[in-house]
Symmetry: C2
Subunit: 334 residues, 2 copies
């Protein structure tokens, strides 16, 4: 069988490799054409896998002796040649895997992608692209860049739009993805020089369905399919939204459990809150792809649990299955 192969760096995330292995076994059971190449400490991996049921043809282990730690910087990618992250990236570069998933440190991972799997022709700055769950049922919004590049020029943002459009069509099945530019107001004249120039270029580009500026207050409103921005602004906007969501939910939780009377009423709304949480839960959309890398490279939250790793592995699998890199390449060449 021709397997879709994910090199899975199971080391270096906050919660150890157990949730990573659990997530992988779950997805392997669902996708019979998937093979996972676990990259990490062989002894630990064998131990974690020993109690699991899976088709052995779908599993490979590559032993490594070093780990890129959360505190490591980008130069540690050069130094730790036998780390799981570096090995997993090399598997992709050598064509032995079709994509990588990691829960390891972000900055070294981005640097590792640059050094090892390289960038697509014409791309100076790949963009880190997470998925934003939205108010509209079944609709997600792609946001990039959220921090791979603190500063971007208008050409980068146009490339983000082209690449994300190809991604959205291929993976999310959106016919004509709506693209917006993150800005402080909707009018064409708003923002810094970067935004005014980018607006003009996006408007002129016939391959992009550009719908104008969008304010950060509408990040999660599901108005558009893709929001482009520089990495500094994207990072600020994403974290502000996530942080407020978290703060509000924690406040509600403490308010509705303050008295026994409230607790009893809240019990009856358990399912309702579960629905809201499910919609806004970043765990179900924990993966972010480095779009513009010459290979499928997904990062899961450093604090990923089984659900988060499962979501990211599934995104990696879908990206492989839908041949995202080639479609992005083709879109860039047009």
């Amino acid at each position: 069988m021709e397997y879709k192969k994910i090199a899975f760096d199971v080391m270096g995330s906050d919660n150890g490799l157990i949730p990573a292995v659990d997530a992988a076994i779950k997805l392997l059971g669902e996708q019979k054409d998937l093979k996972i190449i676990f990259v990490g400490n062989e002894t630990e991996l064998n131990k974690a896998l020993s109690s699991k049921k899976y088709n052995p043809d779908q599993v490979e282990i590559v032993n490594t002796t070093e780990v890129i730690e959360m505190t490591d910087g980008i130069m540690d990618i050069r130094r730790k040649k036998n780390s799981s992250m570096v090995k997993a990236l090399e598997l992709v570069n050598e064509g032995k895997a079709d994509g990588i998933t990691t829960g390891g440190a972000t900055a070294p991972f981005i640097a590792g992608c640059h050094f090892i799997i390289k960038k697509l022709d014409g791309i100076e700055r790949p963009g880190f692209m997470p998925v934003i769950p939205t108010l509209v049922k079944g609709k997600i919004t792609l946001l990039l860049d959220v921090g791979a590049n603190l500063e971007c020029d208008p050409e980068d943002l146009v490339n983000f739009a082209i690449m994300a459009t190809a991604y959205s069509k291929a993976v999310n099945g959106v016919k004509e993805p709506k693209v917006a530019l993150l800005n402080i107001g909707e009018e064409k004249s708003k923002g810094l020089e970067l935004h005014k120039q980018t607006y003009k270029l996006l408007e002129e580009n016939k391959d992009i369905n550009f719908v104008g500026n969008i304010e950060s207050r509408y990040l999660a409103n599901g108005i558009v399919d893709i929001i482009v921005t520089d990495g500094y602004t994207g990072n600020i906007a994403l974290k502000a939204a996530e942080g407020m969501g978290k703060a509000l939910l924690s406040e509600i939780k403490s308010a509705i459990t303050k008295t026994l009377f409230r607790k009893l009423a809240a019990l009856r709304l358990k399912r309702a809150f579960k629905e809201v949480r499910a919609k806004f839960d970043y765990k179900n959309h924990a993966g972010a792809i480095l779009l513009g890398a010459n290979g499928i490279a997904f990062k899961s939250h450093g604090s990923s649990d089984k659900i988060a790793f499962y979501a990211t592995l599934k995104m990696t699998y879908n990206a492989i299955k839908n041949d995202v890199v080639n479609k992005v390449k083709k879109a860039l060449a047009e």
Copy 2:
């Protein structure tokens, strides 16, 4: 009696002058040393005031014939010389009022402050400073700039810190206000050149209680008293947080009212939700001051209702009472 005098521009906001007048009457009843100079259409004002009870010594009306509309640009401040906004600003400049409150358009208002009441010595870019309600009971965080200046240099950010520190001490009674720099990470090395340089200057400044970088995810966590940033980033962060809060609340509302069973349970939690809303409600903190202007200048949301106008008028009154401008001047001169 020596009145504290607010020039209140009642025209140009989204909801007409009725909520503005209602809010003013409420505050006049509470603060016997307050005088409100209503600036706007005299006929409409007399009509709105006719049914109200108030001490006539506390009320003045200045008739104007023009209005700065929401769609007006900064140059309309020069053109509409008989607008309520311009007249109210002139009252402050001439010393006939101690401060201004408006619900009118933001950009013309900031321009009007620059042109008419001018800037404090040593301040190149006044900062627009709203109040962020936080998770910590009774604690608010001041955030500036949120859009008066899209680009700032490190000196501007240091001035924001100095001015907001003086404000926080004078108005909020905080002894040593904690100041943080908005950034994409906590480490000193994070961010753009602007942040690295600002970090250094804030660290060196002995008059500022600088506690380091803060990520936008902690905007509403009440960790610090003051967050400084450039106007572009502040605007993006504030709107992202507000937008997510609104999206989440609307989602919860629809989830807990989906069935009759849920509606009945939700009724029992009415007070709990009210508590949460009160904590996060921007209406109760609707005012933003233009800090660095040579006069007390408050802007209320364009869509202000009575509660929002009341909150902003009260903030204006407190700023006057606590002699904010002179205290800020003194802090800048030190």
